[in-house]
Symmetry: C2
Subunit: 138 residues, 2 copies
DNA sequence: AAGTTGACTGATAGTTACTATCAAGTTGTA
DNA sequence: TACAACTTGATAGTAACTATCAGTCAACTT
């Protein structure tokens, strides 16, 4: 059993966010001790993990709640949950592609600047006009 | 020269966001026509591209503005810009790793559900307790 | 010529998902 | 007994959009 602080550091999520998620109904099974303190079980960590996963690929909280509710509803919703996971995976793959593109651009930029530095460019030009050119990336 | 609408569809960014970014000072070189309408040049598209890139890897708008201002300031800031791009690239690589992990989890989940469906599981159990178990992922 | 359509404008309000601040309660140690 | 270190919920604030609105202007239609 873990306190919210332990879960926060274990999962690299802020305590604030965990409380916010808890209040949003994302962790319906968490028990409290006699002091009303949340005690996360190993299973609860699983829930935190899937919520973190959905969140990190951009699923909005409303949809996460829906997924959680489907889970609670039981096996009759398995197919629906399967579809959600499939489309989420697709979305994540698209994000991966997008991220790769952005990484390419950053790499291009990195080389571009490195080259400027290496060749010790002197910079006596009008910033407004010239940067405009030199920064062109299209 | 492109209207904001054309840029929006070309770059897959909403007109709203483009105006918001423009107001934030991200595109300092955009010209207006006689009707006060923004006309994006090819170069301006380059700026949109780098802003989109920085934004999509989580750079906050305040920092993007700083980068833009460094660009405007000229070559004396090249080293600083180089460092920004380098650390942004690093951040993007970390995001890539994180995304891969989340994809693994989604794949696990996908298989898990597929298996349940394939084996035509009957589901006469208490949802609260049993899902709790079956969903465990840790 | 008058009217309608469509694209643009800035201003302002609303939304999402945190994120920070606060006062208050409990427990362990000096 | 005091105080430090945790927890709690409530509330306010923030970032970055996102939507709505009223208004301008040009081009086309009737």
């Amino acid at each position: 059993m873990y306190t919210i602080k332990e879960v926060a550091s274990k999962m690299n999520i802020s305590e604030h966010t965990l409380r916010f998620w808890a209040k949003s109904g994302f962790f319906p099974f968490i028990k409290r001790d006699s002091n009303n303190t949340r005690k996360f079980s190993e299973n609860d960590l699983g829930w935190v993990k899937i919520v973190k996963c959905l969140r990190s690929v951009g699923t909005e909280n409303k949809s996460i709640k829906k997924y959680i509710d489907l889970c609670i509803k039981g096996d009759s919703t398995i197919k629906e949950r399967f579809e959600i996971i499939k489309s989420t995976k697709l979305k994540a793959l698209q994000q991966m592609e997008e991220l790769k593109k952005q990484l390419d651009l950053l790499e291009y930029k990195e080389n571009y600047y490195q080259n400027l530095i290496k060749n010790n460019l002197n910079d006596n030009w009008n910033p407004i006009n010239k940067i405009h050119e030199s920064e062109s990336l299209v």
